[in-house]
């Protein structure tokens, strides 16, 4: 086996040193009836070239060569090549959690820079070293709010990513945290009047997403006021991190739960991604996840360590703030490098291009179909309602190697034939024009059918 660094002579010498004859002796502690005496029924050893071929074949069956209008929590942005060049350095790729600070300073300093940039972008005082993803991050944020306030229920916007809501439900059920849902208005924003009545004296937090699942930017300040008036915290989930380049961050929030995938993390069929929690300084000891802090060594030299570890499971055990153990260090490093490459000016320009593409696309679509939720600002996603089922339109688009918008019926039955379209800096004008053309064609044929039907009736 090519990964194993021993010759038969090495093994023989080691067995002799141990004082046994056969490696089987080492497995004698396993009772005979527990031992497997046959080969595992799995594929036989493959050569590297065979492995590569097998996966290339799978890639061909997986939409290779298609361009897409899908967003909905997973965004297609350009990834500068320096990201993979750097994260594949063995010293990052193959190192462990930096518990031994003296020779893990590379990872530790990188995380410290990550925490700084995330705090800066989200408008919070500080951020942790990352969470599994945006969905689990949002759930952890709710549990954090419960610990801080000592209250036991949550109010959740229905315009929060439906799969984030599902994850939150799973966590909340067993923590006995009842969740109340607040719906959205015709502009796609949280219904403020409904929110006012939903927030009560036992509400630990209000959880919203902005830009929300429909791409609409929420009035965070107004929502914060409603939450804070009743002593509840405001948690803002951000699924499209690129929005932070041009959309005012939720500074009035108490906790920001972000999915940073947009910043240099491949779509990868849904993972691994990079969740992050950011919060106000006064809440830091209630925040789950690893944290890196700056300190000095005994010679006064600046260095970085994992700190406030007493919040974590390996010390508090059943009293920990969360059972979370790993973070997403390597993915956070991708995010870190992406933020460094674009920086202060580039992130804004990038966001602006996203906005321009989405504005153009929405304008074009609106000539032929209905663009919902007008009247509130949007970032790079918008909802188009067609007469025909979007699944049918999408399947024709596939013929042009284009993946159309995400049909919303599955999560929002009341939205009928609406689909969520996303444009990023990678979306070209010709892609948009092709998609709009097909939607226009679909609308025309539906119209013609209606006219024919009316003829028949007459």
């Amino acid at each position: 086996m090519r990964y194993l660094p021993k010759s038969p002579a090495d093994r023989a010498a080691m067995l002799q040193a141990i004082g046994i004859h056969s490696v089987d002796d080492l497995f004698s502690p396993i009772p005979a009836e527990c031992r497997l005496t046959r080969d595992l029924a799995i594929p036989q050893q493959m050569a590297e070239s065979e492995i590569v071929d097998w996966f290339k074949q799978r890639a061909k069956e997986n939409g290779e060569g298609y361009t897409s209008f899908l967003g909905a929590g997973a965004y297609s942005h350009y990834r500068p090549v320096v990201i993979d060049a750097l994260v594949q350095r063995g010293e990052f790729l193959t190192s462990y959690t930096p518990y031994q600070a003296e020779f893990a300073q590379g990872t530790l300093q990188a995380i410290f820079e990550f925490q700084t940039m995330i705090s800066e972008l989200t408008g919070m005082d500080l951020a942790n070293a990352s969470m599994y993803d945006g969905s689990t991050g949002a759930a952890e944020a709710v549990m954090m709010a419960v610990r801080i306030t000592g209250r036991h229920s949550g109010v959740i916007a229905r315009s929060l990513h439906p799969e984030y809501r599902d994850v939150l439900n799973t966590y909340a059920t067993h923590q006995a945290i009842p969740l109340r849902m607040v719906s959205f208005t015709d502009s796609g924003q949280v219904a403020l009047k409904e929110l006012e009545t939903a927030v009560g004296d036992d509400t630990a937090c209000v959880l919203i997403q902005s830009p929300n699942f429909f791409g609409t930017i929420e009035d965070v300040e107004a929502i914060a006021e409603i939450a804070h008036k009743r002593g509840a915290l405001l948690i803002v989930s951000i699924a499209e991190a690129a929005s932070l380049g041009i959309v005012e961050p939720p500074r009035t929030a108490d906790i920001v739960a972000m999915e940073a995938q947009s910043f240099g993390v491949p779509l990868g069929f849904g993972g691994p991604y990079c969740g992050v929690l950011a919060t106000k300084e006064k809440f830091v000891r209630q925040m789950p996840g690893r944290l890196v802090g700056q300190t000095v060594d005994k010679n006064g030299k600046r260095g970085f360590v994992l700190t406030l570890a007493t919040r974590e499971q390996h010390i508090r055990r059943e009293k920990a703030t969360s059972n979370i153990c790993t973070n997403q260090a390597l993915v956070a490093l991708m995010v870190n490098i992406f933020m460094t490459v674009y920086g202060k000016i580039g992130l804004r320009e990038l966001a602006k291009q996203n906005l321009a593409k989405a504005v153009y696309a929405a304008d074009q679509f609106s000539k032929h179909a209905k663009v919902l939720f007008a009247g509130a600002p949007r970032f790079n996603e918008f909802v188009v309602e067609t007469s025909e089922d979007p699944y049918a339109i999408n399947s024709r688009l596939l013929g042009h190697k284009i993946v159309g918008g995400f049909p919303l019926k599955k999560f929002y039955p009341e939205l009928g034939h609406a689909a969520l379209w996303c444009c990023t800096e990678l979306t070209t004008r010709s892609m948009i024009d092709t998609a709009v053309g097909l939607v226009a064609e679909s609308e025309r044929s539906v119209q013609t059918m209606k006219e024919v039907e009316q003829e028949v009736v007459r």
Partner: protein, 499 residues
């Protein structure tokens, strides 16, 4: 001072100094360039109004060469498996094959969107299905979810299923039994799911005390969480009896798969009574630790627990194509958006393909051989609190060295000077001053010999000059850091005024 072996593994060399990226930033530098906009430009003020962000604060402005140097310099301050042995007990720091990285970046797999139509997702689904089948065969279980993002997340998922299973019988039960040797995530997880934790004492051989278990087991106990081999590296020889005791009173047996590297292709948890278990793809199946993640923590169960798996699950449809099944009324629900850390599934499957049945068996045998070789080499030099046979890891204690005031953490820090990453310190909790060593199969005999020499040399240093060991490390860029100051007045981000 004796440093006779020190140069055989490590030598001091120049490493570059490097500040924080913010300290290199100055206006006008850039590492990015966007293509020209092919649609009309927009007026952001009109579009966004008061929601427009005007300034990004202290974000850096640097050039590409500075970024490359910055992160390359930082990287050289890290230790890594690519540099040498990483004997962290229960962490299974094995070689991370490069073909795994290569195949995970193939276009189509790396760029697949989680919501693209199933018709053009057959490749991803096939990878998930094949990996699931392999893991079920390796564990001897019946059904699996790949959704959990890490080991602890898998534990949570597993415990949610335990709870859902009991609830379906009309009694959720109240508590979880956890041996005192368990990893800290186990009690934290049980508590997260709303169960009380009851400690289970180990016997004199470091195993679950079966008599104590029989006494503690009753209709209030939902499950026992065991790690097998346990954190002492000891196989629970009475595992059958333990499973019978649990099952007789309607309880379930949960296995933490952290130590599966001792069992793959040699024994299957499904064959010794385990009802539900999680795996760590980043331990047993060679996906990289990456400085602390991403992990991936699939959960495998027996048939009776299958209805409770998180939705969706991968199914084969009538026409032979694969799809996601969402309609699962008894499911515990989702534990993560989308389908899990798919990129890790690719890597783990590539590892299984590279090994095959014979390679996996040899891997396990070598892992156990390496641990026992170290045990033999250090017996007598360090105290061995439990003489029970070791599987893939061995636990010593600092009993002999602590007489000179030197603790396990000090020995660990001195090991850094010898060019090795420390072993796991102070864990498991049932051993005072533990040195928990897991070499994995990836170490050649020469590296193991160097490690044994280094450990012996340190033991000699402790006798001759304990203070020298207490002050270690001596050869790193920085000495021991003031963790107390870091925790008392946390500085968690850079600010311009900190300079």
């Amino acid at each position: 001072m004796t440093t006779k072996h020190i140069t055989r593994k490590a030598t001091r060399h120049i490493s570059q100094n490097e500040g924080l990226i913010f300290e290199k930033s100055s206006p006008g530098k850039a590492a990015w360039k966007l293509p020209p906009l092919d649609v009309p430009d927009v007026d952001t003020a009109t579009l966004l109004g008061r929601q427009e962000r005007k300034d990004l604060g202290d974000m850096p402005e640097v050039s590409e060469i500075e970024i490359i140097r910055h992160f390359t310099r930082l990287s050289t301050w890290n230790y890594a498996i690519d540099l040498g042995m990483y004997p962290l007990g229960s962490c299974t720091m094995k070689y991370n094959p490069r073909v795994n990285e290569f195949v995970s970046r193939i276009e189509g797999l790396a760029n697949g969107h989680p919501y693209q139509a199933e018709k053009i997702s057959q490749g991803a689904l096939r990878i998930m299905k094949t990996l699931s089948d392999c893991l079920l065969e390796i564990t001897g279980m019946d059904a699996i979810t790949l959704q959990p993002a890490a080991g602890a997340h898998g534990e949570l998922t597993g415990m949610l299923m335990v709870r859902a299973y009991h609830e379906s019988t009309g009694n959720a039960r109240k508590k979880i039994l956890i041996p005192d040797s368990a990893h800290g995530t186990n009690p934290a997880t049980a508590a997260t799911v709303g169960y009380a934790v009851e400690n289970l004492k180990s016997n004199g051989r470091g195993m679950v005390d079966v008599a104590a278990l029989a006494a503690q087991m009753n209709e209030d106990v939902a499950a026992l969480m065991v790690t097998n081999p346990n954190t002492l590296g000891v196989f629970e020889q009475e595992i059958h009896k333990i499973a019978e005791l649990m099952h007789a009173k309607g309880g379930l047996l949960y296995m933490d798969g952290a130590n599966m590297n001792a069992l793959v292709a040699k024994a299957r948890p499904g064959d010794f009574g385990v009802d539900v278990m999680h795996l760590n793809l980043h331990k047993t199946f060679s996906t990289p630790h990456g400085g602390g993640g991403p992990g991936s923590g699939p959960v495998a169960v027996k048939k009776n627990l299958a209805p409770f798996l998180p939705a969706p699950v991968v199914t084969t449809k009538a026409d032979g194509t694969l799809g996601f099944e969402y309609n699962r009324p008894q499911s515990v629900g989702r534990v993560r958006a989308f389908y899990g850390n798919f990129g890790m599934f690719i890597r783990a499957l590539a590892y299984i393909f590279a090994n095959g049945p014979d390679g996996l068996r040899q891997t396990t045998e070598d892992a156990v051989l390496n641990a026992n070789y170290i045990r033999k080499g250090l017996e007598g030099v360090y105290d061995l609190p439990y003489s029970t046979p070791s599987m893939h890891e061995v636990v010593f204690s600092d009993k002999l060295q602590s007489k000179k005031g030197v603790k396990t953490m000090d020995i660990a820090k001195r090991l850094i000077d010898y060019g090795f990453h420390p072993y796991t310190t102070a864990f498991p909790l049932i051993v005072a001053g533990a040195l928990m060593i897991e070499p994995t199969e990836s170490e050649p005999k020469e590296e193991l010999d160097l490690f044994i020499e280094a450990m012996k040399s340190i033991a000699e240093e402790v006798e001759e000059d304990p203070q020298f060991v207490l002050d270690a490390p001596h050869n790193t860029r920085i000495s021991r850091l003031d963790e107390t100051a870091a925790a008392r007045k946390p500085v968690l981000r850079w600010k311009p005024e900190n300079v």
